[in-house]
Subunit: 515 residues, 2 copies
């Protein structure tokens, strides 16, 4: 099956619409149009089929609740999905998982998939170098030197307590922000760098800033220092921990091979109704005595005792809630998060670059890249990331995008894969290619159902609204990785939140004390 | 409520039977004796209410299956439970949890208990020293020096690959043993120490051996080197990781405050029947067409479509299975595991010892101890561990047990708490005290429902039988932390296994492909 999301470009075929995706669901709905009458009341309607919504729908349906899952796209997974092209999975969004991430690992073990992972890195052959490209030229390091540079730079960044951050943020899974957390959330990474003075060597600083921008997809001035410290604490206060938790292990068969397990289990319960390609327009809460009605853009209306909104922060205000969102939540939705990551995959000819890692900064649009696999054709798969710093839209100008890859080191690009949607194509000389004339192609930033990549807050957002975002409102529960207490922004956080929402709804409906 | 398990001794009252435990369940059963007719068929009978059985019973009952939970003891938790004495929880068995342990942390987050943990350590005041007591006297170190000694010793022990074990065991959550794993499982830690020659300083060696024996509760010769390497890999290949994962964070209100959540949720489903103080005598599998019948020692018989045995390895052969256990499983049960940890708590007067940690080795019966909390009376709570090395039974000779604590440093012991059962008491001079005449008091080693502490294998057991232990047999599934793929021996592993068993039974009964 193919999803409308995504596009791929090859030298031979140019830009093509849609990509194969095992997460694209057929048939798009298992409910008859007659069941759109509000008289059909579900126990719970889940809005959004990313991992938060999938988990909530699965847990609720397995526990015997009648569930309706509504999804705007034609596929599951939200901001995490893979496309299998010629049998090789390209990860369009959230990719990596680790056994130190509790809720996602619990699911991997439960589905018996713990032996279906592989390391993105393979340092066994090829150039085996870390390339640090900057305005003054490119320096080359061993990976051991890379680790030491990153470790020393990051430890200095987070050493606000003489313990590399261990005392400053000892319990990173707390559901509450401490006064110290709030203070650090008032600072940006740029503020912290200014406070540090001349502690960093120029090389450490380049590495460090490249790594921070990889994490936040923002700029140094719009990256909350608290949130970076939170990632560091979650990762065990070491760079080795960061690598393991953030960018190392992925599913051999792609993220969507994992997501389909959740949907499959929910369907097997016999309690799940669903409709894809049904963006939600409005959610009306009837209050204590009434039910909640959900209206889609196509005009269908459904009713349920409870609703779980699994919408990301940046699109929360595209749905009309009635009564309106509580002020704290509404303010957070207006502010949004700042991550506008650009993620692009390239299939390149150079086999020796399988073992390269690189930072290209501050002049390049793609800042962080590395060899991520070997394609069936025996080529190297490179993944690279940019963000708000020198932001660009990779589909607007294919030549520029290829040049961004050359910003790490020269390479021969055979194929580009990136996540977009709502693309428009034009034909030139009989070939389907990108329309370069403007706002035509849509990537994560332009995606109307995401409006950004994984959650990353600018200073102040969490200190002001973290608990607002986590709060229920009447009969509506809000589940998103964007406000998970632990691995916020990660697949793990999405599952944490979906789990929490389903448990809360169930406790509510069975009329017993909250489990 | 009180459990028959456990005893406490104070200067004032001597030895007293039973201890308060919020995990002791009243009423002991929610089924009428009439329902003991085999005509009442359950979907699944779960044998054992430790965390594996609790999780299996909860997941199955929440998913709509009719479940019967049978437990030999009067309380839940198996080898993990806490006793609240004067409002202070003493942990009789499994204690520590961590967010790097996926399945247990998922449950902690799901029950919203992530802010109910505290660190066992408090190095903010008092002597703040690591005391290394050996035959030549006692050396004193800062905790930073302790960490450095442990890190260097352990890194040398596990450095079989030039990467401190990272290449030797890269995927510690695999459900399969690799050829390299099998080779290391053929070695004991004693073998590995012999292979290392003179790499360790005498001080490193004392620290290292004390730590290994804390982990295994065995001797160096009966401790599988592979299993120690597995703990090290699970902990992220650092001593800091070991401390965080193994001995740092505990529930402020005690382990049993966590276990009761599982039972409470299962009961709220309306699908859970249970009977405590009902040891199981026999399990007969009727095969493809029949059901499984379970007979208790009291002569009651129950029938179900499936059975989940959540019995620990060391008592698996106390139940008569028909047909008999498959040969690999039976052989493993005959062999058993070797952990005979002695765990004793002392309430002592010295407040300054709150921040002590200590190893007393090789001459002492209690090898590893540290300040674990402050009691309501303002005294220090010390926990200490021994095992097969210089094994002793703490209830046999209270004076000796107190002397074992003095093996770390002099202290005034006001109270001792330890886990025993089937104790017999005698009165001397009108006071209830220990009968010191022999095999009278029962601790974990003497406990007929455990026959040991957490799982730890001698060389060869896992290489020969790991996959045998994990295999189902007809309509019977076997769930125990003792053969979890990840955090084997831990609460986390028990939950992993209970989760796996319930999912397998459910997939079996709903007649669809395994989720």
């Amino acid at each position: 099956m193919a999803s409308r999301d995504g596009y791929s470009w090859t030298k031979a075929d140019g830009l093509r619409p849609g990509v194969p995706c095992i997460g694209a669901i057929q048939p798009p709905s298992n409910i008859a149009s007659s069941s759109s009458s509000p008289s059909t009341e579900f126990d719970v309607i889940v809005v959004g089929a990313g991992y938060a919504g999938l988990t909530a729908a699965r847990d609720a349906s397995v526990a015997g609740l009648k569930v309706l899952l509504l999804e705007a796209r034609d596929r599951i997974g939200g901001r995490s999905w893979s496309s299998n092209i010629d049998g090789y999975p390209y990860e369009m969004g959230g990719t990596w998982v680790y056994w130190g991430q509790a809720t996602v690992w619990r699911e991997i073990a439960r589905y018996g998939m713990q032996d279906e992972l592989e390391s993105s890195y393979d340092f066994s052959r090829g150039i085996n170098k870390f390339l640090l490209a900057s305005t003054g030229g490119t320096q080359s390091f061993t990976h051991e030197e890379e680790d030491a540079l990153m470790q020393s730079g990051l430890a200095k960044l987070f050493n606000v307590d003489g313990k590399d951050g261990r005392d400053a943020l000892p319990m990173p899974h707390s559901a509450h922000l401490s006064p110290s957390d709030r203070r650090f959330d008032g600072m940006s990474v740029a503020d912290r760098l200014a406070e540090m003075g001349g502690q960093l060597t120029p090389t450490e600083r380049l590495c460090l800033e490249g790594f921070v921008l990889l994490c936040s997809g923002a700029t140094l001035a719009t990256t909350s220092f608290y949130e970076m410290l939170h990632w560091w604490a979650l990762s065990g206060y070491t760079y080795e921990g960061c690598v393991n938790h953030l960018v190392r292990f992925k599913f051999r068969a792609g993220q969507s091979s994992f997501a389909v397990r959740f949907l499959g289990e929910a369907l097997a319960s016999g309690n799940l109704s669903y409709a894809f390609s049904e963006p939600v327009a409005a959610v009306r809460d009837g209050g204590a005595q009434g039910s909640v009605t959900v209206t889609t853009r196509s005009g269908r209306t459904f009713a349920a005792k409870r609703v779980i909104s699994a919408l990301p922060l940046n699109v929360l205000d595209t749905v009309a809630f009635e009564p309106p969102l509580q002020e704290g939540k509404a303010a957070a939705a207006r502010t949004g998060h700042v991550n506008q990551t650009v993620k692009v995959h390239a299939e390149i000819r150079e086999r020796e670059l399988r073992s390269f890692t690189g930072v290209s900064y501050p002049h390049n649009g793609l800042i962080y890249g590395f060899g991520d696999g070997e394609t069936p054709a025996g080529n190297t798969h490179v993944v690279a990331f940019g963000g708000q710093h020198k932001h660009f839209h990779p589909e607007d100008d294919i030549d520029r995008t290829i040049a961004e890859f050359h910003g790490f080191t020269p390479m021969n690009v055979e194929r580009l894969v990136s996540a977009i949607r709502n693309y428009k194509l034009c034909r030139r000389g009989g070939r389907l290619i990108a329309d370069r004339r403007g706002q035509v192609f849509h990537n994560w930033s332009r995606d109307e159902f995401a409006k950004g990549a994984w959650f990353f807050p600018a200073p102040g957002l969490l200190a002001s609204h973290f608990e607002d975002l986590r709060a229920r409102q009447g009969n509506i529960f809000f589940a998103s990785s964007d406000w998970a207490s632990g691995w916020r922004s990660f697949i793990d956080g999405a599952i944490e939140e979906g789990t929490r929402a389903a448990a809360s709804v169930r406790a509510d409906l069975i009329g017993r004390s909250k489990i």
